[in-house]
């Protein structure tokens, strides 16, 4: 950039900041009045005023009807179309590919020892139902959100306008109605699992070895390993709460929030949702096909002692020594007997 241009830009910025330094609205209007007399038809000050996006007088009742022009909408459009949508879309696609490649390379992580047949209760029914509601509502929100964000580029060319609009309408409604269910269950979930996700010293060791995921080495952990804890704090607590809070701003447009607020909420919503979706794929992979026994633990609440010893040794020791009260399948006919 030429120095002349820089000077001119600096001058322009200074001129823009000048009215902020002490001039009141009344003074501004006075200058506009004077300008109308000294330079008739030169309305530059008036249009600068309009450009600021401030509310002027109009007899039409409603939110922001007095704003002639707002400029942040264009900023949002550039952010959404050129950055957030493509980055989030490609990130999720890339994570799917990476997980697929990992599965091909490593396969499902099996339990090494023989199952003992003795089962330990890992999750109470209430914990399981809460997790189930969070998980199902999360998947519905994720799929419907993706349809509304990238469907235009991915699905629309394939299935056509009529069908896609129907699908998007369905997505919007399910997003709106499932959202509050997710928020309530999420808050319950966070309270329920907060204690066991507090960081412990042995988590550092788990991190260094990445839980033995690459090497296949055995690394002991508590009820939740360090990877699960990271997912809990970043994905479940921080990102999901951000998504929830910004989602509420967008879900209830009847509280007279202005466009700038909704745009900001939308940016927070899309960025955090994209991140949490990408992360969730790893969690879902390990909870289903990635790790033998994890799905059964989530579904039935019970794990075999061998599984507990191999994956969560410290927790297993605590259960065994009676430090943690956990039910065992023995003497509980309602619990599933057959495992593996």
């Amino acid at each position: 950039m030429k120095p002349m241009v820089v000077c001119r830009r600096l001058f322009a910025v200074a001129m823009l900041l000048l009215p902020l330094a002490g001039t009141s609205v009344a003074q501004q209007q006075e200058t506009q009045q004077q300008r109308a007399q000294s330079q008739p038809y030169n309305n530059a000050p008036t249009w600068r005023d309009v450009r600021s996006g401030k509310e002027e007088y109009t007899s039409i009742k409603g939110r922001e009807t007095g704003v002639l022009v707002q400029t942040y909408g264009e900023t949002w459009r550039q952010l959404k179309n050129s950055w957030i949508t493509p980055i989030a879309g490609w990130l999720i696609a890339a994570v799917v590919l990476v997980i697929g490649a990992f599965y091909k390379w490593r396969g499902s992580i099996k339990v090494h020892g023989a199952p003992t047949g003795r089962l330990i209760e890992r999750f109470t029914p209430f914990e399981r139902y809460t997790h189930g509601v969070v998980a199902i509502s999360f998947v519905i929100l994720g799929v419907s959100g993706l349809i509304m964000m990238v469907g235009k580029y991915v699905l629309l060319p394939v299935i056509g306008y009529t069908l896609f609009a129907w699908l998007a309408q369905l997505s919007k409604h399910s997003h709106n109605f499932v959202g509050p269910v997710f928020i309530v269950s999420l808050l319950m979930f966070i309270v329920m699992f907060l204690k066991d996700n507090l960081p412990r010293l042995y988590d550092i060791k788990w991190f260094v070895k990445l839980g033995g995921m690459i090497s296949g080495e055995h690394v002991p952990s508590g009820r939740f390993n360090a990877g699960e804890k990271v997912w809990f704090w970043s994905g479940v607590v921080v990102l999901s709460l951000l998504v929830s809070a910004s989602g509420l701003v967008l879900l209830f447009p009847n509280f007279d929030q202005v466009r700038a607020v909704m745009i900001e909420a939308n940016v927070v919503h899309m960025v955090s949702a994209g991140a949490v979706l990408a992360m969730s794929l790893g969690h879902m992979y390990l909870g289903t096909i990635g790790l033998d026994g994890a799905y059964e633990a989530m579904r039935t609440g019970y794990v075999d002692e061998t599984w507990a010893k191999e994956h969560h040794e410290y927790w297993y020791n605590d259960v065994k020594s009676g430090k943690i009260k956990a039910g065992t399948a023995i003497g509980q006919p309602a619990a599933p007997q057959a495992q593996h």
């Binding site: 005023d49 002027e56 909408g73 964000m149 609009a165």
Partner: protein, 207 residues
């Protein structure tokens, strides 16, 4: 083919709201929706008061069209930006993106649930068959198909609001400016139609 544009002359607008009324009457717009509104800057300050009538400007590079998740917007051969209410899902994105606050949503349920978006059509109806009952019910009048210009501009008592072929109305405005000797700012044209040397968006193209 003409490129349809709106132009509001701030030196002439007297804030009578005749355009707002004409639009409501002509198009029987949904309850709670105003496709056009008049905004007054420095209301009540003698000498500094300026009024502007604003509605959808039918932008060359329309932000609403760019952010719509179902791609329900289209541009006619005359540069008019229209949308298909059968596809619209009422997400509100066009309303976030629009610089002029044109897209509006009739409430469709509790908690401010948005219905199908409604906005100025330049009195050009919608994707339905021209001048059909369905077109009128969804989008209002199709005066362009009848060879007429938008009702708001045609009704304007001081001819402040001009609507029509961009070249023609720009010429009318240029003559006015020459007569006055000063003041060539056309409000909103930079935002809606870009700089004069900028290439116009291809007519009828989806973006």
């Amino acid at each position: 083919m003409a490129r349809m544009k709106f132009l509001c002359d701030a030196e002439r607008c007297i804030e009578c709201n005749g355009c707002v009324t004409a639009c409501k009457q002509e198009n029987e717009v949904p309850w709670g929706v105003n496709r056009r509104r008049v905004v007054t800057i420095n209301d009540g300050i003698v000498g500094a008061e300026k009024s502007i009538s604003v509605a959808c400007m039918h932008c060359s590079d329309a932000p609403c069209m760019a952010v719509c998740p179902v791609d329900c917007f289209y541009r006619t051969d005359e540069g008019v930006v229209l949308h298909d209410k059968d596809l619209c899902i009422g997400c509100g994105y066009c309303f976030y993106a629009c610089p002029f606050g044109a897209p509006q949503f009739p409430q469709a349920g509790a908690f401010g649930l948005r219905g199908k978006m409604d906005k100025c059509t330049f009195c050009a109806g919608g994707p339905e068959k021209d001048l059909s009952k369905e077109e009128f019910a969804k989008y209002g009048s199709n005066r362009l198909a009848q060879g007429k210009l938008p009702a708001c501009a045609e009704m304007c008592s001081t001819k402040a609001l001009l609507g029509g072929d961009g070249d023609v109305i720009a010429d009318i405005y240029r003559e006015r400016v020459l007569k006055r000797g000063k003041g060539s700012e056309v409000w909103g044209w930079g935002t809606a139609y870009g700089k004069p040397d900028q290439k116009a968006a291809p007519a009828g193209a989806k973006s």
